[in-house]
């Protein structure tokens, strides 16, 4: 929680003035009984009706001033808490944007989303309540303690002991319940994960008629949550009664020892009345504090979870801040003895070396899981190679700022994802200032102009209002807007029929000054490529043209013959 305090630094004024206003209101509130006493002493005893009315007016005035200062505090608390929450949200969103693929895989989307939403909300509520209550309660407590000391030093020992014990109870309950709140939040993560899965898999779930299973699974989690809430409820329900017992036992002690003091003449009975009422005041303040403690415990758990994300450093770091100047007469892409593995396990890629000439078309083929996508992800530096070098335009990818490296490369991912908004908004991802004309020409090149009537067409989340093949073509079009110099297609024709694919490929190859990398399962897609890379189990089994490979590379030959006749394969 404390680690998040930097987000409050802009609200110093509000943080000081707000609680002070609240304090002022509390002080005024303490005045009211004194004025009332004056009314009794001077008004009633002297039968002065005028005085009663005048003092009555003072009471009203106190109320008005109290109200206005409280309102100032409420506004400042609202402003500060909402402001801080907004700042945390912005910063966390930005931070998540800097994380690399490895960290994103590890934390997982749902955990990040609950942190962005409910955790930040909890912290926000915390700030508001703290500002509104934190000063007021201790002020009332300390005030009561001081007054007790003035009345009788010996009896005030009871006050200090009682206050100490109550403080201890608050501390214990807070520390004991913290782990429960953490558990509650992680169960919530799980609940949102299951909900999300249930929505994304609705077709499959229904096809298998497994709704019941998922419901049971979900209910297990909500049951767990209910149980944990019950346990923490049992604990935090202790707060109120425990403080009550301590405070009232203290009153009993005051009466008991006070009786002796009165008997010996050290105190008057009126003093005992005062002492008892001060203790009650402490109790009331402590109850407020106890509520605040429960809230703080929850907020602290959320704060810690938010902070966890802030403390994750991206494994792939942006090392350059200035754009580099690409070299002229070099291959577009070069891999030099590159090896890579995702975790500690077997290496995904082993000692890969190849080069891709500028403005050439290169195909990458290989069995499922042979490392094709992994290889692509090193070009845009989503991961860093374990050893070896990856060069784009003759410069090591580590020397590029991310933006320069990635915005010159247009990628079409395996999974066709569109974003909610209009079609035009989606098409502006690659080049924000593209004209409608640019977009239409990209759509035409991607064979997507046939089913698009208007760029204002609404796209729902994930692009689910388009068919799989349509989505794929829109994703290709999205990448083509702005004439990027490097286009990477990761199995991006899989949902297209051959005729459509062929037209599309023809359009792509006709582009000038463009290097194209195509990962595919289909031989026919890359037969005419300038170069073909054959991957097998993370190793480069061969590279060359179709004609060379079909003769020299057994792995390639096998793949081709599985799809084409001997004649068609050129044997």
């Amino acid at each position: 929680m404390l680690k998040l305090r930097r987000f409050l630094s802009d609200y110093k004024l509000q943080l000081i003035v707000g609680p002070l206003c609240k304090l002022f209101e509390a002080v005024l509130e303490l005045f009211a009984p004194l004025v009332m006493a004056q009314i009794i002493d001077n008004g009633i005893l002297k039968n002065d009706t005028g005085y009663v009315l005048r003092m009555g007016a003072v009471l009203v005035l106190l109320g008005v001033v109290g109200l206005s200062s409280a309102l100032v505090c409420q506004y400042m608390a609202s402003y500060t808490s909402q402001g801080a929450g907004t700042k945390i949200r912005t910063a966390l969103f930005r931070h998540i944007g800097t994380l690399s693929h490895r960290e994103l895989d590890e934390i997982g989307t749902p955990a990040l989303i609950t942190r962005m939403t409910s955790d930040i909300n909890a912290v926000q509520a915390n700030v508001a309540m703290t500002m509104r209550l934190l000063l007021r309660a201790p002020f009332l407590i300390i005030g009561a303690l001081v007054m007790a000391c003035f009345i009788d030093l010996k009896i005030s020992v009871i006050f200090f002991v009682a206050a100490l014990i109550i403080g201890l109870i608050l501390f214990l309950v807070m520390t004991k319940s913290l782990p429960f709140y953490k558990k509650i939040q992680s169960t919530l993560d799980r609940i949102s994960l299951i909900s999300r899965e249930n929505l994304s898999g609705s077709r499959v779930i229904r096809a298998f008629s497994k709704q019941k299973t998922h419901e049971e699974n979900f209910e297990q989690q909500t049951e767990k949550l209910a149980k944990t809430s019950k346990r923490v409820g049992r604990l935090s329900a202790l707060l109120n009664p425990a403080t009550y017992v301590v405070a009232n036992s203290a009153i009993v002690l005051i009466l008991y020892f006070g009786a002796g003091q009165v008997d010996s003449g050290a105190l008057l009975s009126g003093d005992i009345v005062a002492l008892a009422s001060y203790m009650t005041q402490i109790l009331l303040a402590m109850i407020v504090l106890a509520d605040l403690v429960v809230l703080l415990a929850r907020g602290a758990a959320s704060g810690a979870r938010i902070n966890e994300v802030f403390e994750i450093n991206p494994s792939v770091k942006e090392l350059a801040s200035k754009d580099v100047i690409p070299k002229e007469k070099t291959p577009k892409i070069e891999f030099r003895n590159v090896s890579f593995s995702y975790g500690d396990g077997d290496s995904e890629l082993e000692d890969i070396s190849f080069s891709i000439d500028k403005n050439s078309t290169v195909g990458i083929i290989g069995t499922t899981g042979s490392g094709k996508s992994t290889l692509l992800s090193l070009i845009s530096r989503y991961y860093d190679a374990a050893s070896g070098e990856v060069l784009v335009d003759g410069v090591d990818v580590k020397k590029y700022p991310f933006k320069q490296l990635r915005s010159n490369t247009a990628e079409v991912p395996q999974k066709s994802v569109l974003f909610s908004g209009t079609l035009r908004e989606n098409m502006l991802w690659q080049k924000p200032d593209a004209t409608d004309g640019d977009i239409w020409s990209a759509l035409r090149a991607a064979q997507a102009d046939g089913f698009v009537d208007t760029l204002d067409k609404e796209v729902v989340q994930g692009g689910m209002n388009f068919s799989g093949g349509q989505r794929q073509r829109l994703c290709i079009a999205r990448a083509l807007v702005g004439n990027p110099s490097l286009i990477i297609l990761d199995d991006s024709f899989s949902a297209l029929d051959f005729a459509t694919e062929k037209k599309l490929r023809k359009n792509l190859c006709a582009r000038e000054n463009t290097t194209i990398i195509i990962v595919t399962q289909r031989c026919s897609t890359i037969m005419n490529a300038d170069k073909i890379l054959v991957l097998e189990d993370g190793r480069l089994e061969g590279q060359g043209t179709h004609g060379e490979l079909i003769k020299n590379c057994p792995a390639y030959r096998e793949i081709c013959l599985s799809q084409l006749g001997r004649e068609e394969a050129g044997l």
Binding site: P241, V252, G369
Partner: protein, 578 residues
């Protein structure tokens, strides 16, 4: 107020517990109101130096100790019970919402922002729970306090007590006015919260795409725009909610002043009955206590408003139209696998008809391949067979029975389906493979995995079949995911098989082997295959060539090639490169 009524329906299930909580509140608050009286009594036995009745003081103190213990115990029960009730209501609401998402028509699920729905299940329910705990504890002890102090006050002076009673509703009125005022801003806040959740869901969920387009800064800008809107709405809602507490406290202070003045004047001139000075001071204490509960309830008004706005969203979802209940519809046991389309018409949107008057008869045991350009309606046919969407007109018959007359779940169980979008859930690989057939033995599952050529890569995973997949199975490639989906369908061993581009991400060598395995598995059973790679469907009994929602050609591979039509061109397009 509908939200409240709906919530009460959920709370009512735990009315026994609530009643108990109320009882505990009555006892603990009632006793605690009596404590000041005891304190006063004890003090009355200490008249001054040498005039203290220790025996009586001791007796009173003893009674106090007993009461304090009782108060504490009952107070604990009250707090505990109310937290249990709200935890259970939260659980019930979540379960019902979740179940609801399973009965919403797919048309709804496809068109809704998932993030918003999830936010309802998580954040909104949470807000309702928080609000409820507050209301139960504060309301109960509040009611008892009000009734208790009222009785004490009436006992002292009826007239002035009436002044308090008449004036206090003012604070309720103020609270109500403020509540009405801020309900709108709370609804707005909650709506924006859902919106921002959707955005976060979309962008963070697709962070990899975002990175590939260097879109981070632009999404940040959009996020900040939404965040700013949320800030404004949040500030308005929070402040409006926070107005309530000081305002009612102000009203209460005014009540205190009025009571004081009226009381003082009564003492002086007896214009409202009689009152002693001691009586007045006692009266003021109670008047103070009487107004406290009003204050406490308004103190949590922000939370209550948030809860109400959240509750409204929850019940909106819960009252959305579900797929009709079909538990009384026919359930089939054994299916031969004859399928017939009779004059089927369908469209996703009213302005464009996709499938017009489609008819087809498939005999049991036939392998039917559906080919055609993208967007020609192949997947739509599958959607209709599975009743993910309902036909607008015409019918689909399974073994001569209209599928609309068959129980939806029962119908779907007859089909093994592998879709282009591979969906796996987070769990172990074994759990995923056993999905359709929970009773399958490990050996059967492994056999299915071997048949689908997934066995070798599964074995290479860190924990083999027990490897945990994370959400969206990000630790697998698209092809591997498809192999798992195929193995899952094979383990199910269904009467009818539907493969919708099921092998599109798999390399062709594996694909051919998988196809062979399917062929063996589906011997004598009906299957539908949607494919682009024509090499994989050459052997099919019927090939349907679709274009623009119509069947334009049908026949075997050889027949279709001979007729030199659409299929012929399609088939040859994969070899001839212009």
């Amino acid at each position: 107020m509908n939200t409240v009524k709906n919530l009460l329906r959920y709370i009512r299930r735990y009315r026994l517990m609530l009643l108990l909580a109320l009882l505990c509140a009555v006892i603990s608050v009632g006793f605690s109101l009596y404590i000041p009286v005891l304190v006063g009594e004890a003090i009355d036995y200490m008249l001054g130096k040498g005039m203290v009745d220790f025996g009586e003081v001791g007796r009173v103190v003893l009674i106090m100790l007993i009461l304090i213990t009782l108060i504490a115990v009952f107070r604990w029960f009250m707090d505990f019970l109310s937290s249990v009730v709200s935890a259970r209501v939260v659980r019930d609401l979540r379960n019902d919402l979740f179940r609801k998402t399973n009965t919403l028509p797919l048309r709804d699920i496809d068109s809704r922002a998932h993030g918003d729905l999830i936010s309802r299940i998580t954040n909104d329910v949470e807000a309702v729970g928080d609000g409820m705990t507050q209301v139960i504890t504060k309301l109960f002890s509040g009611i008892v306090t009000i009734v208790g102090t009222l009785i004490f006050m009436l006992m002292i002076n009826v007239w002035i007590a009436l002044v308090v009673v008449v004036l206090t509703p003012l604070s309720v009125l103020v609270a109500a006015v403020i509540g009405k005022m801020c309900a709108k801003s709370f609804r707005e806040q909650q709506r924006l919260q859902g919106e921002i959740s959707s955005y976060v869901e979309e962008i963070i969920g697709n962070q990899k795409v975002v990175k590939s387009f260097s879109y981070e800064e632009r999404s940040q800008a959009e996020f900040e725009k939404q965040n700013k809107k949320l800030f404004k709405a949040g500030l308005r809602a929070q402040f409006a909610g926070a107005l309530a507490n000081p305002s009612t406290r102000f009203v209460n202070n005014m009540v205190y002043a009025a009571t004081g003045i009226a009381g003082a004047l009564t003492v002086v001139s007896a214009f409202m009955g009689t009152l002693t000075i001691g009586g007045l001071s006692c009266f003021l204490t109670y008047a103070n206590q009487y107004t406290k509960p009003f204050n406490e309830v308004t103190g949590v008004l922000t939370q209550i408003q948030t809860a109400l706005a959240a509750g409204e969203r929850i019940f909106n979802t819960l009252s959305a139209e579900s797929e009709p209940d079909e538990s009384d519809k026919m359930k089939l046991d054994n299916v031969r696998g004859e399928l017939e389309f009779k004059n089927v018409r369908f469209s996703y949107s009213a302005d464009k008809e996709l499938i017009k008057n489609f008819s087809l008869k498939v005999k049991s045991g036939q392998q039917v391949a559906i080919v055609g350009p993208t967007g020609c309606g192949k997947t739509t046919l599958i959607n209709l067979i599975m009743r993910f969407y309902e036909t607008l007109d015409g019918e689909i018959l399974l073994d001569g029975i209209s599928t609309k007359g068959i129980n939806r779940d029962n119908l779907r169980q007859k089909f093994g389906m592998v879709l282009q979008d591979s969906w796996l859930f987070s769990g172990t690989i074994m759990d995923n493979l056993r999905y359709g057939n929970p009773n399958a033995s490990d050996e059967e599952i492994i056999a299915a995995a071997k048949m689908s050529y997934a066995h070798s890569f599964i074995r290479k995973m860190p924990d083999g079949y027990n490897t945990k997949l994370n959400e969206n199975a990000e630790n697998l490639s698209a092809g591997q995911k498809q192999l798992l989906c195929i193995a899952r369908a094979m383990a199910l061993d269904p009467p009818v098989l539907i493969l919708d581009e099921a092998t599109s991400s798999i390399d062709t060598l594996t694909e051919i082997r998988v196809q062979k395995a399917f062929k063996k598995l589906m011997k004598g059973r009906t299957s539908f295959i949607v494919a682009h790679r024509l090499s994989t469907i050459k052997e099919s009994d019927i090939i349907l060539v679709m274009n623009d929602g119509d069947i334009i050609e049908q026949g075997t591979h050889d027949e279709l090639l001979k007729s030199k039509g659409f299929y012929y061109n399609l088939y040859n397009s994969q070899f001839i490169d212009s």
